[in-house]
């Protein structure tokens, strides 16, 4: 059945949706009447749903053997010939002489896993947005951007070569920019959007350079994943070649730190929370930020053959996870807590990558997507109920008022901190497992366990402050508090079910875990839970009148912002200032040169003065000279 459907249909649906909704949004700008939300909403959900259904059809067509470590290395001819992948080439993109880049799609086990949850969760979140964005002036525009995002994300994942992945990569970055700055009357949103785009852009240049290194090594054919992996397995690079490949791997990893918010390019993600909450759930938690992990899994052989790079990845991952967990502990904004939690969890995924367990990383991407999406949507539901309040110090006791949201978030919370049996427990356990037997030393393993403990602490703090105790907001707000509409609740419940069962999927084939690591991991979670539960139900942080951070908390939270400012922004500003002076100097000298004809003209005008006597005197003088000269000449 799947043989008849071409792969490009999967991204074509949301693209069509985006174009259609975009045209509607633009066409209706003049009319005072708001757009009919029901029709537009139905349209907006229809296209992602089609993609999801198609993905399922394709997935069923593939022999389901579960994603294994070996398969990541072989998305090429081996997979194709064994019938466990679909591939198609659409046409040429850039062709100059030997330089040849094509459009092509590849649907293998990795793409299958990614696409299933991407299209599925996007459909759910678009559905949720129908309720969340109801009445907003930019309703249609918002849904158009979501469809455009889904298109870019599908292209990113489904591409069979680096340049096409890059198209999706920058496409999702662009959509993220548009959606973070969605409420563009607010200058802060615009600033956050610009920051998100720019920081990602820095990483993207790494992507470009990484591709250039690969082209230099073996021509543009190496940009194709299948060719690259086959070539690597054939050549088994050693020595100098391996170090050149390590350079490519380093550049590409740099790009991943941008998209997946790792040290040093992580500062944009917390700011990106300025966007509407469904966006935070979809783009900045579940899908786009995992693109970095996807890319590294896609290029697994390259990273394996690059000496030293995976150790660096591991180090950065552990550092990021720990730093973000500590930061999450100190935030008062419900979305900021979740944002830092996302950074920390992405750190866990990169730990698995650093340890060489690429399939485990993707497994955590999968389980985390459900969990974090549910948490964010829950947070959105809380904010929706409280009229946009985000400060957790002003919440409390919401369990009774929002029972459904509470239950959903409880499940997601239990999954995220890794209570045994729930989705993230399985993946986190395997990450710890892979770290334990990695040569990088057991210190990192214990840091990871400690970070898992911290995860439990900050998540429990969040839950206690939001749902337990007494309501600490104003009375008028307490009366208005209401549960979200059904259209928002359905997707949340589906995701909550995912939080419970996503760990039992047959999409992966993973190793068994050791008992004591499972005990250690869940022990850390339970310890953190109990500690935070007792501590924060007694000591509730007081709302001090302003929501800005201060003192050490501020220094710690903005450590990397400060670092980026000193290392990048300040030098750029100074250079711009100095060059501005240079430019003024050049302009001044030019003005002086330009003034020369002015001065000459002025002088001549003086000679040609319109004073009669002067004119007459000059004429007489000239005549005298002329006559004198003539006399001499004649004689």
């Amino acid at each position: 059945m799947t043989a008849q459907i071409p792969l490009w249909v999967i991204p074509a649906f949301p693209l069509l949706g985006a174009i259609l909704l975009g045209v509607i949004a633009l066409a209706r700008t003049k009319s005072e009447q708001p757009a009919p939300e029901a029709y537009i909403g139905a349209l907006a959900v229809f296209f992602p749903l089609c993609s999801f259904v198609l993905t399922v059809i394709f997935a069923l067509g593939l022999p389901n053997s579960g994603l294994t470590q070996q398969m990541l290395g072989l998305p090429g001819m081996a997979a194709l010939s064994s019938g466990s992948a679909y591939a198609e080439t659409l046409g040429t993109w850039i062709a100059v002489g030997n330089f040849k880049i094509t459009f092509g799609f590849l649907f293998d086990s990795l793409a299958k896993v990614m696409l299933l949850f991407i299209t599925g969760i996007t459909t759910l979140i678009v559905l949720y947005s129908l309720g969340y964005m109801k009445g907003d002036k930019g309703y249609t525009r918002f849904l158009c951007y979501l469809n455009l995002f889904l298109f870019s994300m599908i292209v990113l994942v489904l591409a069979d070569s680096l340049p096409l992945t890059f198209l999706g990569w920058e496409g999702v970055g662009l959509c993220s920019y548009l959606l973070v700055g969605f409420w563009n009357k607010d200058r802060l949103s615009c600033k956050a959007a610009n920051k998100a785009f720019l920081v990602n852009r820095v990483g993207d240049v790494g992507f470009l350079l990484g591709m250039l290194v690969l082209i230099a090594v073996g021509g543009t054919t190496l940009l194709n994943y299948a060719n690259l992996n086959e070539w690597l397995l054939l050549v088994q690079p050693q020595g100098a070649l391996a170090y050149i490949l390590a350079l490519a791997a380093l550049f590409l990893f740099f790009a991943c730190t941008g998209k997946s918010a790792q040290i040093p390019l992580l500062t944009w993600l917390p700011d990106a929370m300025a966007g509407p909450t469904p966006v935070s759930a979809l783009i900045h938690a579940a899908t786009m930020v995992t693109a970095g992990i996807y890319l590294m899994a896609r290029l697994a052989p390259l990273f394996v053959f690059s000496p030293g790079i995976l150790d660096l990845v591991l180090l950065i991952a552990v550092g990021t996870a720990l730093w973000a967990a500590v930061t999450g502990l100190m935030q008062h904004d419900i979305k900021k807590v979740l944002a830092y939690s996302t950074i920390s969890q992405l750190g866990f995924m990169f730990m698995a990558v650093g340890a060489g367990a690429f399939n485990v990383a993707i497994f955590h991407v999968f389980t985390h997507a459900f969990t974090k999406a549910a948490l964010f949507l829950g947070a959105g539901s809380v904010m929706h109920a409280l009229g946009g309040e985000q400060d957790i110090r002003k919440m409390g006791g919401l369990a009774k008022k929002l029972p459904s949201t509470f239950l959903i978030m409880l499940l997601a919370w239990a999954s995220l901190i890794g209570l045994p049996g729930l989705a993230c427990f399985w993946s986190k356990d395997l990450i710890l497992e892979s770290l334990r037997f990695e040569g990088a030393g057991s210190l990192l393993f214990y840091v990871a366990v400690f970070t898992a403990f911290l995860t439990a602490v900050y998540m429990t703090r969040l839950m206690v402050l939001v749902f337990f105790g007494k309501f600490r907001g104003t009375n008028s707000l307490a009366e208005k508090t209401h549960e979200s509409p059904i259209v928002m609740q359905i997707p949340m419940w589906i995701l909550a079910v995912g939080c419970v069962f996503a760990g039992y999927t047959s999409l992966f084939r993973l190793g068994d875990s050791t008992m004591y690591i499972a005990v250690l991991g869940s022990g850390a979670a339970i310890l953190g839970l109990v500690f935070a539960g007792i501590y924060f139900s007694k000591k509730i942080p007081k709302y001090s009148g302003h929501s800005e951070l201060a003192g050490f908390v501020k220094t710690w939270t903005f450590a990397f912002d400060t670092l980026n400012f000193i290392a990048v922004i300040l030098p750029v500003r100074i250079a711009a200032l100095v060059l501005g002076w240079v430019n003024d100097f050049l302009r001044l000298t030019m003005q002086m040169v330009a003034a020369i004809p002015h001065i000459c003209a002025g002088g001549l005008r003086f000679m040609q003065a319109n004073k009669l006597r002067m004119q007459l005197a000059l004429t007489i003088l000239c005549v005298v000279i002329l006559v004198y000269w003539l006399l001499i000449f004649i004689r």
């Binding site: 949004a25 700008t29 563009n184 720019l198 250039l212 750029v572 302009r587």
Partner: protein, 471 residues
């Protein structure tokens, strides 16, 4: 024959415009539309044919050297000519909104300018002929600035004329010296003659040629004429100046400097790349600080065209093809932004981007078009800019100094920084108190942006038409 028609058409149309009504602006606008559309139609037909050349006619002869006249329209020339006619056509459409008066005079000047620019692009064999058009294009541009320019137009005209005329002196002398030595004006003869000259003379000639084209492009530190000229010229003219005329500088590097001095450049190209890349960073950093939209776009042009020059001096075929794509892309994006900037100025009565803002809320259609073109200027993949930048970066990486690619990368990041700042200032922010109800994009102006958008996407996804004219 078609290429000859194309060459003559703007001049004839310019004369035809003289007959149009001075009083009835509507009638002269319609006539101007036809007159600017004709060269575009001819250029498009030529594009479809894949280029053409004329035979050699004797023009005049001087000191025993016979100077021929011939037109050649292939590869880079073809695309630049097409871009020039397209931009002139669009510039005329937008001129009705941007200019308060004198549509007829603007059309006459614009067509004359278009003709001379096309003349320069078509003169790829004969250096005297090239020089003729290279100098000639300054005149109509200066007259148009003087007629329609801003408050400081006198100063601008003076700076523009003196700077660019003085800038071409080195080329005139160097070219005449070479011609006298060779006894011919043909490029092949010049290439052969250069080889027998002593090295020091060769280097002096190279520097002289480069100085002139560096003024025209412009490259740092010879760019000072650009800021004031672009900012005093009316918006549609700025679009043509940056989108078409400035490219004669890059074109000069590609068609004269590199073929004539190729052997020399194999050794010395690193200096050219360094200067061009520095110029790129310089333009981008200065663009970051500008508040005048025209100056911002002027420095953005400086940055982009410097990058194109850097790509040329990689001396690789792939990079040169990339440069062609980048130039077409830059013409579309820079031209588009100048056009739309002019509309914003008409609405707000200001050139300061701090006074714009909130068009996304008040004029979503305008904001979408502006936003799209500005994002395309950042060279996001699937737009034409990406193809050019990627190919040029590839050229820089393989120029023997891979480090250059990183500098180019920094320039690309900075270009995003100033463009995003521009978008933020022009489109976003709180809606100002002043009433903006009455303003909206006219259907004609909106429709004129459609070809820009379509071409940006089309060449971004399918650059083969441009690339294949190089291989």
């Amino acid at each position: 024959m078609l290429v000859l028609f194309l060459f003559i058409a703007p001049f004839i149309c310019s004369c035809l415009m003289l007959t149009s009504s001075r009083r009835d602006a509507k009638a002269s606008f319609k006539m101007g539309l036809l007159c600017t559309a004709l060269p575009l139609a001819l250029a498009s037909a030529l594009l479809a044919m894949g280029g053409q050349e004329t035979g050699s006619y004797t023009w005049f002869s001087l000191l025993g050297i016979s100077i021929d006249f011939s037109l050649h329209c292939f590869g880079l020339s073809l695309w630049m000519v097409w871009l020039t006619t397209l931009l002139s056509f669009l510039a005329f459409i937008y001129s009705r909104a941007a200019l308060g008066f004198g549509i007829r005079e603007f059309a006459i000047g614009l067509l004359a300018l278009e003709g001379t620019i096309i003349g320069a692009f078509l003169s790829t064999q004969n250096i005297v002929q090239f020089l003729f058009f290279f100098e000639a294009m300054i005149l109509p541009a200066a007259i148009m600035i003087a007629l329609h320019g801003g408050l400081k137009r006198r100063n601008a005209v003076l700076v523009f004329v003196i700077y660019t005329l003085a800038g071409s002196i080195p080329l005139v002398f160097a070219a005449l010296y070479l011609v006298a030595k060779a006894g011919s004006v043909n490029i092949l003869a010049l290439v052969e003659t250069l080889k027998i000259l002593p090295l020091s003379t060769q280097i002096s000639l190279l520097i002289a040629f480069s100085l002139t084209f560096a003024v025209k492009t412009p490259l740092f530190p010879l760019h000072s004429w650009q800021g004031i000229t672009y900012s005093e010229a009316p918006y549609p003219l700025s679009a043509v100046l940056s989108g078409a005329m400035a490219k004669v500088g890059v074109f000069g590097f590609a068609v004269w400097v590199i073929p004539i001095f190729f052997d020399l450049l194999l050794k010395y190209n690193i200096y050219f790349i360094s200067i061009a890349l520095f110029s790129m960073l310089y333009g981008a950093l200065l663009a970051l600080r500008q508040t005048n939209i025209k100056r911002l776009l002027a420095f953005s042009s400086l940055s982009h065209l410097s990058f194109a020059v850097a790509g040329l001096f990689c001396l690789g075929d792939v990079a040169v093809a990339g440069v062609a794509v980048l130039l077409v892309g830059h013409g579309l994006t820079a031209g588009g932004l100048f056009f739309l900037g002019g509309i914003a100025q008409k609405w707000t009565g200001s050139t300061n981007i701090k006074n714009f803002g909130a068009f996304a809320s008040t004029n979503p259609v305008y904001a979408s078009i502006f936003g799209f073109i500005a994002i395309a200027a950042i060279a996001v993949p699937s737009t034409i800019g990406f193809v050019g930048e990627f190919l040029i970066l590839h050229g820089l990486f393989n120029s023997g100094y891979a480090f250059f690619a990183i500098i180019g990368g920094i320039g690309i990041i900075l270009s995003a920084a100033y463009m995003l700042r521009l978008i933020k200032c022009v489109l976003f922010g709180p809606v100002p108190e002043k009433e903006r109800a009455g303003i909206s994009l006219s259907p004609l102006e909106g429709a004129a942006a459609i070809p820009i958008i379509i071409l940006i996407l089309y060449f971004g996804l399918h650059p083969a038409p441009i690339l294949s004219s190089f291989f």
